[in-house]
């Protein structure tokens, strides 16, 4: 393993993991306060990407069900059939503290699962109790401490992480965030509405920049020539085409698009006509 210290690790978490944890937390059995599970993902040198998770079976009311390693292995095999590149990278638990159960499971996994996958297993703590009105998500690395011959305990040291998104995940997450503002439930856009939504976004960005310019002119914000230059660079980056060339380009594109629309309508008319004729015969 190229990584000799957890300080070199960079941990990236995909939002689907946290959403799955939240959802499973809401579905837990009535008498359970926390849920636990396993984290899966991809390891590339010093970068650990957490992409998915399994939830442990909920213990039943009559007592804790012992964790069945065989069943877990079967589940993992099922998973590997679809995602052959994913390995186990750690464990997660919910609540505001890592407790004994979580610790026991983490220790079990570190022993049983091959350490060639990831040198420093991660533990993710998701605070579904929302202490301080905030869902704290904390990633830690698990170590055992003690002296040779006498193992004295385990320690979880926090590690920095970041959220990672594929482009599709980014669009989905932005859509979800936008929906929050309008009450949390929303239909999916079609193409044109999407362009309008983006232009609204551009509008907001322009507002922010204009506010900055006004502030600086009024003297409220200190003038920073570096920011000013980046702004001017950004504006200069808009390609400045001659009016006539631009008009030509517009016209050509418009003509192409109109023609395509015409063809489309033609085909649809043809379809309707064909159907009518067929049924008459």
């Amino acid at each position: 393993m190229a990584v000799s210290s957890p300080l070199q690790l960079s941990v990236v978490i995909h939002p689907v993991v946290v959403l799955t944890i939240c959802d499973s937390y809401e579905r837990r059995n009535e008498d359970i306060e926390k849920i636990h599970g396993t984290l899966l993902g991809k390891v590339e040198k010093e970068r650990i990407e957490i992409r998915n998770c399994f939830i442990d079976d909920n213990p039943t009311a009559s007592g804790k069900k012992k964790f069945n390693l065989e069943e877990f292995q079967r589940l993992f095999d099922l998973h590997q059939r679809v995602y052959p590149n994913e390995v186990i990278v750690g464990r997660f638990s919910t609540g505001d503290q890592i407790d004994d159960t979580a610790l026991a499971m983490q220790a079990l996994f570190s022993r049983v699962i091959e350490s060639s996958y990831v040198a420093f297993p991660i533990h993710l703590l998701v605070d579904t109790n929302l202490t301080d009105s905030h869902m704290g998500i904390q990633a830690s690395v698990y170590h055992r401490y003690g002296v040779p011959g006498n193992d004295n305990g385990s320690i979880f040291t926090p590690i920095r992480y970041a959220m990672g998104y594929y482009p599709e995940e980014m669009s989905a997450s932005q859509l979800f965030q936008r929906n929050l503002a309008i009450g949390g439930i929303a239909p999916v856009h079609n193409d044109m509405q999407h362009v309008i939504a983006t232009s609204t976004k551009i509008d907001e960005l322009l507002d922010e920049v204009l506010k900055y310019v006004e502030d600086v002119t009024a003297g409220n914000t200190p003038f920073d020539s570096k920011i000013g230059r980046s702004l001017s660079d950004a504006i200069m980056a808009v390609p400045q085409i001659d009016q006539s060339v631009f008009k030509d380009m517009m016209n050509n594109s418009t003509q192409d698009l109109l023609m395509v629309t015409y063809l489309g309508s033609l085909v649809r008319t043809q379809l309707a006509l064909a159907e009518k004729l067929n049924t008459i015969l």
Binding site: L7, H14, V147, N152, I155, V209, L210, T217, R229
Partner: protein, 395 residues
């Protein structure tokens, strides 16, 4: 490859406040101390064999033996386990209200240890900096020690060097200006050691911003280094941002300041005059005269075109730049590729058709122009958007 939110993995400021170290021990405190003591004794440390029931006493005793551990040849995993054991004992002591241990540990880590265990020392320090009972002052101390260790043992990727993140942390810990200066200097040294000169320049700017009136006198060296680095950098042509920094405007009266001014405001003639007058000074700061001539020519070209616009002819430009016409074309092409101007060369008419020119100084006037342009865009977009919305509703 998925994009990561933010360039480096980072905890938001909120999560840093909430991050906590969790440890779960399986033996009693005194047993843990006993185990550690026996282990240290086996390595030849000078600790007492017995344990009392008083944690602080035992812990102080153990601390005496840690130097031996750090200087020994013990392998990485063993060292890590032992030091984490020490770490948990330290945290327990802090829980009972005792202070001063972190400082002691920091100085101990600075003075003892080898290359092999430097990484582990950094790990322990980072863990302690996340512990909730560590005060802001102690966290700053830990950070400084980490930077020193990283610099000494060349472990540049194991310590936080992202300037934006670092300034956020320093704000949270309410570090004073003097403290910041020390930290920024260390970070700059780390960048220079790992050949990341661009980032080192950025740190220098941050460093200079940390000076204020009461310690401005000590900033002169740093200011000079900053100016010389900028002038030397073959990719930087616009220097007016430097004047905004207090330590640099403090250099007024020095020769270096005059040179900087020439690069910002004056033209080729002034530079050549300056060079003739102060040849010794130019040699002492180590800037290449050829390089400077090239930069000044490009800058003079920019100013000339900015003033004359489309009326700039080759003759005028060649005169201003003291060049032959053949070399002039090359300079114009260079200026375009450095993005100082955007233009086309009209060879027949021997003129330059200019699209836009960067201004050598960027002031409030330029910002106002930008504001006007943006306002126009905003209004146009608004109109179009309204139309599109009405159309999409009827469709």
């Amino acid at each position: 490859m998925p994009t990561v939110d933010g360039e480096t993995a980072s905890l938001s400021t909120r999560d840093v406040a909430n991050a906590s170290v969790t440890y779960i021990g399986s033996v009693s405190d005194s047993d843990q101390c006993l185990h550690l003591k026996i282990y240290l004794l086996s390595l030849g440390a000078n600790v007492k064999e017995e344990v009392s029931d008083d944690l602080p006493t035992d812990f102080n005793d153990i601390m005496e033996g840690i130097t031996t551990l750090l200087d020994s040849q013990v392998d990485t995993d063993e060292m890590r386990s032992a030091l984490y054991s020490l770490c948990t004992l330290l945290m327990k002591c802090m829980k009972s209200g005792l202070t001063g241990y972190i400082s002691k540990l920091c100085s101990m880590f600075e003075q003892n240890g080898k290359q092999d265990n430097a990484g582990i020392r950094l790990e322990i320090l980072q863990t302690l900096s996340f512990y909730e009972l560590t005060s802001d002052l102690e966290k700053t101390e830990i950070f400084v020690t980490s930077l020193k260790l990283a610099k000494q043992y060349k472990l540049h990727d194991r310590v936080m060097t992202d300037i934006q993140e670092v300034s956020k942390l320093l704000d949270t810990w309410k570090v004073e200006r003097d403290g910041r200066i020390i930290i920024y200097r260390l970070i700059r040294d780390i960048f220079i050691d790992s050949q990341r000169n661009d980032e080192a320049a950025v740190v220098m700017l941050e460093l200079l911003r940390s000076y204020d009136d009461h310690n401005i006198a000590s900033s002169v060296e740093d200011a000079k280094i900053c100016v010389i680095d900028a002038l030397k950098n073959p990719e930087i042509y616009l220097f007016d941002y430097l004047l905004a920094l207090k330590p640099i405007s403090n250099l007024r009266g020095e020769l270096l300041y005059d040179l900087l001014n020439i690069f910002i405001h004056e033209d080729l003639k002034s530079y050549v005059a300056f060079y003739e007058k102060s040849k010794e000074f130019m040699q002492s700061i180590g800037l290449s005269h050829e390089e400077n001539l090239r930069k000044m020519r490009l800058l003079t070209l920019t100013s000339h075109i900015a003033k004359a616009g489309d009326a700039a002819t080759f003759d005028d430009l060649a005169a201003a730049l003291a060049l032959e016409e053949d070399s002039l074309e090359q300079y114009i092409i260079d200026a375009i590729s450095c993005k100082l101007i955007s233009a086309k060369i009209d060879e027949k008419e021997k003129k330059v058709i200019v699209k836009w020119v960067k201004s050598r100084t960027f002031g409030k006037a330029e910002l106002k122009q930008i504001g006007e342009r943006l306002l126009k865009w905003k209004n146009n977009l608004h109109l179009i958007r309204k139309n599109l919305s009405t159309i999409s509703q009827t469709v």
